[in-house]
């Protein structure tokens, strides 16, 4: 039984009180005396040469305070990529400059080449329309294969559209090729992992203030990691000293990856605030969000699976083109490589894996990490080709997976893609999935669907992912330009309540509830006496923020380490108070006692003594009770799962509906099962959205066809079934103190292949020999596939 409010308790989310009552404070809610508005002037062509920009008419319009163009930022730095990838030949990747405002050329629809600051947003918009830009439109580079073969370059100065040509693991290439060449059976699949628009509910917003007297800047912004944003602005873009720049990410309404990155709008409002000496705010509208938030996915992949006659996997080989868009967003080079290629062995004992990824510049919005970030792409490729292989050799898809699963006695397991999995039990997950999904009852449900003229398909999938990417020493060798630790400060106040300052940022995850559960459990105090402080670089230790399902595994571990230091010091204080030795003190349920006696002091009494250190061993012990820990993990964590779903397909119209969806996940230990369930639900919604509905479609001129909710299909409640979610089969992570693995992305990783496998199964059950269909599986696509089969 979990302690009341401690680890394992399904505590309701305390932050929801303000969110559900409209009391959240988001960046756009800020109102400052003298505040001005920024509006960006954006390209409506995908590729063009900026011949001239005439701002004279706009400058004379009412309320206009300043106008910026790319010319104003020629001297400042570019927004860098956070991860250096070397090509197979050892050459470093191409890194064209990403300026604050486009200069010389515009490179995608939405690329900003000017900005207007005015007293009101309407005045700024009026003036923006009065700016006359002479832009010579050029043919757009949109299709990745064309981009690689052609000579029309997104960045003329690099003379290629290929950012890098990466091999993983290059030394395994020959063995993988040989295994495929000599295999009894090779299954090949060409597929597209569709481009997605993140669509956080809160659009991006940045508000900059500059204090002329002190020279201090403050930036409120929609960020998943304020310290990283500060570092990028300080060290690379504007050169503002870190001690003069405070970055605050207040309540943030969702990110899904898109708010990890530093965006040019943040730099612009900072520069404008200094120039004007007044606060400058920019709030994205929804169209700007579609055009300029970093998009997700967009891979084109060929995967081959080699087996022997018994169905034992011998090799996986993939060739992928990964779209990075017009500029390198901060983690756009890590996502298709180390977050993708390293997972390509899946849950399997396959001995040979080789991954080739070519990253490609195109005249489209930048592409970067989006919920799952590389791992959904790996899982999708693998789990689709495994299903296809099962059909080809006539083996049950669950049986084929089980045959090749890593077994529980094989951990730690060195995968053929270079990772060391610490724990897991994939057969147990599959057993549980078969049980809770009532797989045995599928035949009867299919018969019921067929009786009403529908087809019914069953799809299955097993995934593994890697969360809490680390350790810093390793990722540094692999090209990361940042560390991947996190930090926490635990401050015990004099009256015994606590403030915990964390480097992770909560924008929907529930940190304000979960981290206090951990501390309360360790200290034996009421969780309600603990508050979390996050998102403000002037208040928290240097942390790396929230993405990649890392908050609890990495920052939560820092919280544990800092709390352990608190207990260590408090024990010494208690020993003094109890006139005993620290080694004789035991700490349990919030009380320090001398072993074998009834002498004890409470945690609260110790805290008070620390801050009112009368009769205190001041010569041996500092006053106060506050500790900081930085935690750098020893390894990734490896959540895994077994998913299945059932779809119903209307053969007359091609419409597919997901009728049942089951997710059985191994998240290791679980701190708050209710929040974990919620995270899985959210991930499943986005995964089903990718599979059935969402598509960021560009035409050949580089215009985004789905640039509004009239054409971009977001999943709605009636598109989704009730879910069966189970996380009872946890195997604790072996290398972090909480034994936790991370749950934020699992649903979005596990569900797309599950849904598509079920759609294929449904079509096959209708006598149609369809072996592949690309996402999103719209009614039109299904109808076309069935007509052409």
């Amino acid at each position: 039984m979990p302690k009341d409010g401690g680890i394992g308790a399904a505590t309701t989310r305390r932050e929801d009180v303000r969110f559900l009552t409209g009391e959240g404070q988001y960046s756009d809610d800020l109102k400052r005396h003298g505040q001005t508005s920024a509006v960006f002037v954006r390209s409506n062509v995908a590729n063009g040469v900026i011949k001239s920009i005439d701002t004279s008419a706009a400058a004379d319009m009412p309320g206009v305070l300043a106008i910026f163009t790319g010319e104003d930022f020629v001297e400042v730095g570019g927004n860098p990529a956070g991860w250096l990838i070397n090509s197979r030949d050892g050459e470093p990747m191409k890194e064209p400059k990403r300026p604050v405002l486009a200069h010389g050329k515009v490179r995608h629809v939405g690329d900003a080449y000017a900005a207007v600051i005015a007293e009101t947003v309407e005045q700024a918009k009026d003036a923006a329309e009065a700016i006359e830009a002479d832009i010579d439109e050029l043919p757009a580079v949109v299709n990745m294969a064309d981009a690689l073969s052609g000579t029309n370059y997104v960045h003329d100065e690099i003379g290629t559209n290929q950012c890098f040509d990466w091999g993983w693991i290059e030394d395994n290439r020959a063995a993988t090729d040989a295994a495929i060449k000599s295999a009894q059976h090779v299954t090949t699949l060409d597929l597209v992992n569709n481009r997605l628009v993140p669509n956080a509910m809160e659009p991006r917003c940045s508000m900059a203030e500059y204090n002329k007297a002190s020279g201090d800047y403050t930036l409120h912004t929609t960020s998943q990691n304020p310290h990283l944003t500060r570092l990028l602005i300080s060290a690379f873009v504007l050169g503002i000293p870190e001690n003069k720049l405070t970055v605050i990410a207040p309540d943030v309404g969702g990110g899904f990856g898109s708010k990890i990155y530093h965006y040019s709008e943040e730099a612009l409002v900072l520069a404008a605030a200094k120039k004007l000496g007044r606060p400058v705010k920019w709030t994205s509208d929804r169209t700007e969000a579609f055009l300029t938030d970093a998009h997700g996915r967009d891979h084109v992949t060929k995967i081959e699976l080699a087996m022997d006659a018994e169905g034992n996997f011998l090799a996986f080989r993939t060739e992928t083109m990964a779209n990075v868009g017009a500029y390198l967003s901060n983690f756009s080079t890590a996502t298709p490589t180390f977050l993708h290629g390293t997972l390509m062995a899946g849950n399997y004992t396959v001995p040979n894996v080789y991954v080739n990824v070519k990253a490609v510049f195109t005249n489209t919005a930048p592409v970067d990490a989006y919920r799952g970030a590389g791992r959904p792409e790996a899982t999708y490729s693998l789990e689709r080709v495994i299903d296809k292989a099962a059909r080809e050799i006539g083996m049950d898809p669950i049986e084929l997976r089980r045959k090749n699963f890593i077994k529980p006695d094989q951990y730690p397991f060195a995968s053929a893609a270079g990772l060391e999995y610490d724990s897991g039990n994939y057969d147990a997950l599959m057993d549980k999935m078969e049980e809770v999904a009532d797989v045995a009852g599928f035949a009867a449900r299919r018969a019921a669907s067929e009786a009403k003229g529908k087809l019914r398909g069953f799809g299955v999938n097993a995934y593994i992912e890697a969360c809490g990417i680390a350790p810093s020493n390793l990722v540094g060798i692999l090209g990361s330009r940042v560390g991947l630790y996190d930090a926490a400060t635990v401050r015990v106040n004099a009256t015994g309540n606590l403030s915990v300052m964390v480097g992770a940022h909560s924008h929907g995850q529930g940190h304000e509830t979960v981290f206090p559960q951990v501390v309360a459990d360790m200290l034996g105090v009421d969780a309600q006496s603990i508050d979390i402080v996050h998102g403000d670089t002037s208040k928290i230790p240097f942390g790396m923020g929230t993405y990649g399902s890392r908050s609890l595994a990495v920052c939560g571990s820092a919280v544990v380490r800092a709390t352990e230091k608190i207990i260590l010091k408090a024990t010494k204080i208690a020993a003094h108070m109890l006139e005993s030795e620290a080694s004789d003190i035991t700490f349990e349920d919030g009380e320090f006692s001398v072993a074998g006696t009834n002498r004890k002091v409470s945690f609260g009494e110790v805290a008070l003594k620390a801050y009112i250190p009368h009769e205190y061993p001041i010569e041996n012990l500092e006053p106060g009770l506050e500790e900081t820990a930085f935690y750098d993990p020893a390894n990734f964590t490896y959540p895994s799962g077994a998913y299945c779903c059932e779809v119903e397909l209307d053969p007359e119209t091609g419409k597919v509906s997901v009728e049942r969806m089951t997710a059985v996940d191994d998240f290791g230990n679980v701190v708050n099962p209710m929040i974990v369930t919620g995270q899985v639900h959210g991930g499943l919604g986005q995964g089903i959205g990718q599979a059935l509905l969402e598509n960021a479609a560009y035409d050949e001129d580089g215009q985004l066809l789905s640039a509004s909710y009239m054409d971009y299909t977001m999943p709605r409640a009636d598109d989704l079934p009730f879910y069966t979610v189970d996380h009872s089969q946890g195997n604790a992570c072996t290398h972090n103190p909480l034994g936790v693995k991370g749950c934020g992305e699992a649903g979005a990783i596990g569900s797309p292949p599950t849904v598509i496998n079920a759609v294929i199964d449904a079509m096959q059950s209708g006598g149609k020999n369809v072996t592949h269909i690309d996402m999103p599986v719209t009614p039109h696509r299904v109808w076309s596939a069935m007509n052409n089969a």
Binding site: E122, K125, E129, T287, E652, T653, K655, L693, N695, A697, L705, S706, Y709, M710, D711, Y712, T713, M714, T778, P779, H780, W783, S784
Partner: protein, 259 residues
């Protein structure tokens, strides 16, 4: 959005008098307001019809249902005296749209994917304006085009209630407008089949189906028919061929549901 003035007259006569110059009539604004917010239109003045009480409400007499032009979709959905029409209204947009959007605004806008034009054409309705009465067959001219004159206001729509009717909407998944919607009715005057969502020319009748159904009002009657893909809409959500296929499927389902 650009700055504009707004007037909210209380009679049709006042509304008509308020129009002219660069004024724009607004009846619910569920299309117009987003257009204004995107700065795609810049009227000097909006004349809102929401305060015109004589354009509100639903009445029935002599087998004809008369719906005031400023009546919102939610009121039509709740009425129920013409079941197929109420059912159609209950699936327009979302609850907020249904509480603001009006039938007059919808037919006057004649969005090629809207539902009401199919109901009006498929029922043989009459569009009543502040100047005249126009048969639905003459009213819907083409995509976003009607036979309304400049500043003419749709004050009501009169629906003869048929013996049988049904509307089948296959939604465009993002907008949830009709990718293809088919309204079928059967009355003493014959069978009508009106198609929305599918054509570059907007709502239109499928006369071949009407003829086939006139003698045999069942889905089987459509068996030998094909729909040409010529001039059907080609977009992200469906090809002309797919839309042509859906017209037949949705017509069959509407007939079956109406029978």
């Amino acid at each position: 959005m650009y700055a504009f003035d707004i007037e909210r007259p209380s009679t049709i006569a006042e509304a008509a008098a308020a129009l002219g110059d660069e004024a724009q009539v607004m009846s619910g604004g569920q299309t117009l307001i987003p257009t204004l917010k995107a700065r795609l239109a810049s009227p000097s003045k909006l004349v809102s019809l929401s305060g015109v009480s004589e354009m509100q409400g639903i009445s029935s007499a002599g087998g004809v249902l008369t719906i005031g032009g400023a009546t919102c979709h939610a009121d039509v959905a709740a009425d129920g005296s013409y079941a197929a029409l109420s059912e159609l209204a209950s699936h327009i947009g979302d609850a907020a749209v249904r509480n603001r959007g009006t039938i007059g605004g919808s037919v006057a806008n004649n969005d090629p994917s809207a539902c009401y034009p199919a109901a009006a054409l498929g029922s043989g309705a009459t569009i009543v304006t502040n100047a005249r009465e126009i048969a639905a067959d003459d009213f819907f001219v083409g995509m976003f085009e009607t036979s309304l004159n400049e500043d003419e206001i749709v004050t009501a729509v009169k629906f003869p209630i048929p013996e049988k009717a049904n509307y089948q909407k296959f939604v465009q998944p993002a907008s949830r407008f009709a990718l293809v919607g088919v309204f079928v009715s059967k009355s003493a005057n014959g069978v009508r089949v009106a198609v929305t969502g599918a054509s570059n020319e907007g709502v239109h009748r499928w006369t071949a189906a009407e003829e086939a159904l006139a003698t045999n009002f069942s889905a089987d009657a459509l068996d030998g028919l094909t729909v040409s893909a010529d001039n059907l809409i080609d977009d992200l959500h469906g090809s002309p061929e797919y839309r042509a296929h859906l017209i037949k499927v949705m017509t069959g389902r509407a007939v079956t549901a109406a029978s």
